[in-house]
């Protein structure tokens, strides 16, 4: 039973990868011959490559913004005891709860009013909002395991706030910050709802292009693009696991 469920989880992902090596020009499973022709087609098509590059660029910026905002907020929440703390938490955490379609509409209206539709930087900022809760949760967890007395120790030893945060607090949060950053990147990299509303004609990300082809032509080149998405995300996941283990060992020493 468990084996079946696990197979149910993994098989569709594998099938997309296998499909990308299809030997014919239409979707067929089981495969009718193997070939790399769809990879050639994908790599030979500037629009797919541009879409991939745009996705990466947007995800990079979104992840950077989310990481800075989320990390600062996590530290602030951990150290701030005054009024408004729980309201602040609700604000920072809630994007995880808000249905993406609601966010998509909100940004569509906003971008339409401000003539930002299709601007990649604006899209990146919108995506960063979706990444903030994940960074927040990840870093908050690490902060709870951190001895707050360490910061006090650094202060009495003559380090100002900036130095304390940089040399004492941050190094110990590194793996949590990285995990949050990677997650924020992945979310932005394969986000497929908001982009349908705000890409206009100019900002065609990989997910947007995939959507269009799923909707309108359904060719095996799609499977190649899907494989690229899978590989990027899984590679980042494995990277975060490895980095987490490595940094975690250093932190735990």
């Amino acid at each position: 039973m468990v084996t079946l469920v696990l197979a149910f989880l993994v098989a569709p992902v594998l099938i997309v990868v296998v499909e990308s090596f299809n030997g014919v020009d239409y979707l067929a499973f089981p495969l009718e011959g193997w070939s790399l022709r769809h990879y050639e087609r994908f790599l030979g098509d500037a629009s797919w490559l541009e879409a991939t590059a745009l996705s990466a660029r947007i995800a990079l910026v979104a992840s950077a913004v989310a990481t800075v905002v989320g990390t600062a907020a996590a530290w602030g929440l951990a150290r701030f005891a005054g009024r408004g703390r729980s309201a602040a938490f609700a604000l920072l955490y809630s994007p995880i709860v808000v249905p993406v379609i609601v966010l998509a509409m909100s940004y569509y209206f906003l971008f339409a009013d401000l003539r930002l539709i299709g601007r990649w930087a604006a899209i990146a900022v919108a995506y960063s909002v979706m990444g903030v809760p994940y960074v927040l949760v990840s870093v908050t967890g690490a902060l709870q395991r951190l001895d707050p007395e360490l910061e006090n120790a650094a202060r009495t030893l003559g380090a100002g706030i900036a130095r304390t945060l940089l040399r004492v607090t941050l190094p110990q949060l590194a793996s949590a910050v990285l995990a949050g950053a990677l997650f924020a990147f992945v979310i932005a990299f394969d986000e497929a709802v908001v982009i349908l509303f705000v890409s206009g004609g100019d900002s065609v990300t990989l997910a947007r292009k995939l959507w269009d082809s799923v909707r309108y032509d359904l060719t095996p080149t799609l499977a190649v693009a899907g494989t690229v998405l899978i590989c990027v995300c899984v590679a980042l996941f494995l990277l975060s696991e490895a980095a987490g283990a490595l940094l975690g060992r250093r932190e735990r020493r």
Binding site: L6, L91, A104, V132, V214
Partner: protein
């Protein structure tokens, strides 16, 4: 030798009393923490609360101020039907996800750590895989002539796939959302002290009774929490219903998108989005109470 009278109480006047409330320390941690929290909050207010708030406002101002959209939404039979279909499908997905997810979580939680880590990858890798790609996979599998269709052929007796029907949406959504309950329930099961069931056994409970009386009650909140979470996410899902569902399976999200992009009925879209948002937030609060773990949603 210094001697003090032993009367700890509020300073009654005197130099101490007068000097109370004198100079506050400058930029100390509390103040700095307020800044560290205040800046992110300001950013989120500007780039998140503002657009969402404006959208909410739109639901009662467009096309004219008032509750006309809401009235229309709750009286229009097509919209009511959409709401019903959405809730029904989300509930089906939630139930199936929990039924499939609990055994997997239990298996992972009781496996030796090394094996559990490897098996966990099988849950987490799909979780990290694009929703779009996974929906696409189901189009391949469930389409006419797709693998599943052909495997089911002896049963169904015709070559028509499940694609573009409610079954397809439920299967694909279950696949997409299943990792959530698995991860949440596993996290809860990991926290259950194994010695508790052993203790119950030594107190004379059989394995089934021990499981039912000790393990299940401890696992119940997270299980319910996982189910509600799937339900909430399912309610607002757009990509999968839009791709693998047919016109009869339009969900709220699909109708919202159509209102925005095709019929330009922005007020109605905003109203439906508001309803969806309220539902999601309300249920999410319920989940938080159930699981009482803020981080449970994150992997």
């Amino acid at each position: 030798m210094t001697t003090r009278t032993p009367a700890p109480g509020p300073p009654r006047g005197g130099p101490g009393g007068e000097r109370r409330r004198r100079g506050r320390p400058r930029l100390r941690r509390p103040a700095f923490a307020a800044v560290a929290l205040g800046l992110p909050v300001a950013v989120m207010l500007a780039v998140y609360a503002w657009p969402v708030g404006a959208m909410l406002v739109r639901s009662v101002t467009e096309p004219e101020p008032g509750l006309s959209n809401l009235v229309r939404a709750v009286t229009d039979p097509t919209i009511l039907h959409v709401l019903w279909v959405t809730v029904r499908m989300a509930a089906e997905v939630a139930v199936v996800s929990v039924l499939l997810g609990f055994p997997v979580a239990y298996f992972l939680a009781t496996s030796p750590p090394r094996r559990a880590r490897v098996l966990l990858l099988l849950v987490v890798i799909p979780f990290w895989t694009s929703v779009l790609v996974r929906s696409f996979a189901w189009i391949v599998l469930l389409g006419d002539g797709g693998l599943v269709t052909r495997l089911l052929h002896p049963l169904t007796g015709d070559g028509r796939g499940l694609l573009y029907g409610e079954g397809a949406v439920v299967v694909a959504l279950t696949h997409i959302l299943l990792p959530f309950p698995v991860l949440i329930i596993k996290a809860a099961l990991d926290r259950i002290d194994g010695s508790l069931t052993r203790a119950a056994r030594t107190l004379g409970a059989g394995p089934l009774r021990a499981f039912a009386l000790v393990y299940l009650p401890l696992a119940a909140p997270a299980t319910a929490g996982g189910g509600v979470l799937v339900f909430v996410i399912g309610l607002g899902f757009y990509v999968t219903p839009a791709l693998v569902g047919g016109p009869k399976e339009s969900t709220i999200a699909v109708v919202i998108a159509r209102s925005v992009q095709e019929t330009f009925d922005w007020g109605m879209a905003a109203t439906l989005a508001t309803l969806l948002l309220l539902l999601a937030v309300g249920l999410a609060l319920a989940v938080r109470r159930l699981t009482a773990v803020k981080g449970a949603v994150a992997p």
